[in-house]
Symmetry: C2
Subunit: 167 residues, 2 copies
């Protein structure tokens, strides 16, 4: 068994043994969505204080609003959420490369067939953290389907555990 | 202040006050990625036993492998993860609608301009849970860029807190 599988199987036994919230409803009880990065140093439930059942949590590389668009529309139109907290973070890997670097690495590590698979892929990296928070919030607000949805942008500091509002 | 913002601001104060893990490295220390649904009833860190800093966590509507592809490639090629735990769950909203229903709701609730924005969008809903776990795992395994990556598929039961392996 791999390390990940072992974490899951062993840890889940203890979690399930004391689990008491099996009757939570499908729609988020606090009617919002947290959108943040996949970064291993972020624990959204704990750091952003999200009670179980309260909010959808979407996570992808860089907390990209464009990448999350499908999930956000489902969250809002199918499950009634009306608010998005978009949280990017300091020390994000997405600040450290660009499409050319990423494609080059894939080709070098995995070969031509793999390189072909990511040829048209935009990795959505970005050079400036707070600017990208603002830009993502603006992009969401400019969608017709997001009309009436409250959208705010934040930065989480992986060094301090603190969150601060950008927009 | 909205409910979501209040959760974040008030809860984060307490979290940051006792935060002691500000020196974790960017690459996940356990070298794997958890891929699961945005569903509000899932707390991956707790239910899947993921220590802070150990693994990337990607979340989207339905735990879609295709939707997560960009993030997975970044996790693996840029940050050295070698394993994916794909976890879908019982009671998933994605089992309850299709593209036609979703597009119809957008048009009815938000109007023509919004309907146009989701016209070409595949919502990636699915009618059978375990079949979709298997299909997503197979799809990932068939990518050249995923060669050498260990991929397993699981179901989390929101009713019991238990996880079980599918493939």
């Amino acid at each position: 068994m791999s390390l990940g599988e072992n974490n899951l199987v062993e840890g889940n036994k203890a979690y399930a043994a004391s689990f008491t919230q099996g009757d939570l409803a499908l729609p988020p009880s606090h009617h919002y969505t947290g959108l943040t990065c996949m970064d291993a140093r972020i624990d959204p439930a704990a750091a952003f204080n999200i009670p179980l059942g309260a909010a959808h949590v979407i996570r992808n590389a860089g907390a990209s609003a464009r990448d999350a668009f499908r999930s956000l529309v489902i969250s809002q139109q199918l499950l009634g959420t009306t608010e998005v907290l978009l949280v990017k973070h300091t020390g994000c890997g997405m600040l450290t490369f660009d499409n050319e670097t990423a494609r080059g690495l894939v080709k070098k590590n995995k070969g031509e067939a793999a390189a072909k698979e990511v040829e048209g892929l935009d990795f959505l990296a970005f050079p400036d953290l707070e600017e990208k928070v603002r830009e993502d919030v603006e992009w969401l607000k400019s969608r017709a389907v997001e009309e009436g949805i409250r959208v705010t942008g934040w930065v989480y500091e992986v060094e301090t555990g603190k969150v601060r509002r950008v927009v």
